[in-house]
Symmetry: C2
Subunit: 357 residues, 2 copies
């Protein structure tokens, strides 16, 4: 099966090779070397001097951690789809008050709307933004939104789950207080590791918040970060996988080259689907560079297209949430060979002819 | 390096082999099959009809989940060492009131002490017990303690991190409401997966508790359990590894045979260290079958013995917490060949001669 999924995505062969290595203690000198090297590589990749934590969880664990550590009362959640909604749900279930900005599903968060909202609600402590909304294939103008959040002096928490590794993020320059992701998206590593940067300002805020718990407690993580370690047992195979892919990216020519690979794949897919008479869901100019959310043609159903493509050996992604039937998605993250994209588009062409849209 | 660690331990070759498999979507039919099969195998292994959850976290995540889901106000934490203390710390940082039973480090929790405590504090909602305290190499008489907890009608939460898989646990028969572990101990699978059973009674209690969060929310997990899935992305490689080891255990002759392998290794190690004039730390009769905590001989230091054994190619475990210098530990979990035990004891003999205790 060739994967064009929303994640877990197909992993690079050299990453799978390190996944099978024999284990060792997470308190050993060997582990500390791996930990330090991986954290430093990720800091360089994200252009940040902030602490980088390697959570024994998925990216959603970082969502829960951000909410528990950095919000006393109120957060503003910017919502463009299911994962923005998840952030809200996580905040509510952790006892926080949530305000939202939720434009129509096809549209991004704009600096003006955000500016307006923050002007009207001065008691908002932090803003959450889904950089790249995986469910709708939409990317938000993060750099410009960050400027607005910083102008208002609020903390900014960025869910970069399906963008980190696939498109540029400059953590320090853009002023992102927390920026987290998972390994099973653009980095092409198996799932089970949440990764993210946490600034001094976020840590200071954390000192004012009660009931932070233990597992995702940033202050406990800070202590172990200094020892090149993690509070609980480290998810060693995935950390070794992440370490490997960061080396692979360097060998491929660095991160700009890696981003270009994603853009190129994405253009090839977009051109291909347009030739089949298909269009993408988000407002023009805000289409994600890592996953395409595609409107189903008249009288067809997204699930059926997904199933028919599976029969032909290609696993795409179903539409998500309220778009389950009216869209399907094609991810271009992880290990994808150029000829696989051609094969996938050819299979989609066959589905079109069989299905007759 | 031959591992006699406290975890992560050396993994079985067939487990490492599945760790390198290519990924697939956690919402695919392939994953649902793996999930269902693994949950059913684990239910059979633990002799339970309770829900079994596969957390994208370590065992400590299950600790945090238990506290957030099953305690409104007060928990009794039974403490025999560092991991009992961690349970208390997790509860306190999650805003719960904690009472404790903490006998001298060498001694177990006894049914009488527990009975007395529960009689005096009727407002205790649940009791946490560390079945096998990894830091001191002590095993508690869980079955008898469970009888006391049930007599008082309290919920029982069992940290079975270093016992599950290595010694018998009958979840339903003994009346354990929550019984959790991690994959990187007796199952000999890499770290990153928390596993545990949660009864209907624990789930009912959970409905009365506010502020449960999202990530470890048992009610959300219950919903996905019914769909053979997990709320967030599943830690697929480790789940496949656990699935594999449960098959391997069957091939080895079933779980009783697997427990006997642990007992036999443990006896060999105990006999070996006694020949070297060494003794184990816990009170006689309560020595762990999965990890030996060994008193350092006169005028020697545990860390030095650990370091000298490393130089000879054997990674033991350092003493933990307050026992850091006065003990060292030898785990017998995971993939260990009989000849490796002989080699390890021979190396320890050499250290004795060089060190001259």
């Amino acid at each position: 099966m060739k994967l064009f999924t929303a994640g877990p995505v197909a992993c690079y062969p050299e990453v799978l090779e390190v996944m099978k290595q024999q284990m060792y203690s997470h308190r050993s000198a060997e582990y500390k070397r791996l930990h330090r090297e991986t954290v430093e590589s990720l800091q360089k990749f994200l252009e940040t001097e902030a602490n980088v934590y390697l959570f024994s969880s998925t990216g959603t664990g970082f969502m829960e951690g951000s909410v528990r550590n950095c919000i006393n009362k109120k957060i503003l959640c910017c919502i463009n789809g299911s994962f923005g909604k998840r952030f809200k749900e996580v905040a509510v279930l952790n006892g926080k008050i949530v305000e939202t900005i939720e434009p129509p599903l096809r549209e991004p968060i704009t600096p003006d709307i955000l500016d307006d909202k923050l002007s009207k609600s001065p008691d908002i402590e932090a803003v959450s933004i889904t950089h790249n909304e995986t469910s709708t294939g939409l990317i938000n103008p993060l750099k410009k939104l960050a400027e607005v959040v910083k102008k208002h002096g609020k903390l900014l928490i960025v869910d970069a789950v399906s963008s980190m590794g696939g498109t540029e993020i400059k953590v320090d320059k853009w002023g992102l207080d927390i920026c987290f992701s998972s390994t099973q998206k653009c980095f092409g590593v198996p799932p089970g590791l949440g990764i993210g940067s946490v600034t001094e300002e976020a840590l200071k805020k954390s000192e004012t918040v009660q009931n932070k718990g233990w597992y995702f407690n940033f202050k406990i993580w800070e202590k172990y970060h200094k020892k090149d370690s993690t509070p609980m047992t480290s998810t060693i195979p995935q950390i070794a996988g992440l370490n490997q892919i960061l080396k692979t990216i360097d060998e491929l020519g660095g991160k700009d080259k890696y981003f270009e690979i994603h853009r190129k794949r994405n253009r090839t897919i977009k051109t291909g689907i347009q030739k089949l008479g298909l269009s993408t869901f988000p407002k023009k100019g805000y289409e994600s560079p890592t996953i395409s959310c595609i409107n189903t043609p008249n009288n067809t159903d997204g699930i059926t297209i997904y199933e028919k493509m599976r029969e032909k050996g290609f696993e795409l992604a179903k539409g998500y949430g309220s778009l389950k039937n009216t869209t399907f998605r094609i991810g271009n993250m992880g290990y994808i060979e150029p000829q696989d994209i051609a094969g996938m588009l050819e299979a989609l062409n066959e589905v079109q002819q069989e299905y007759g849209w």
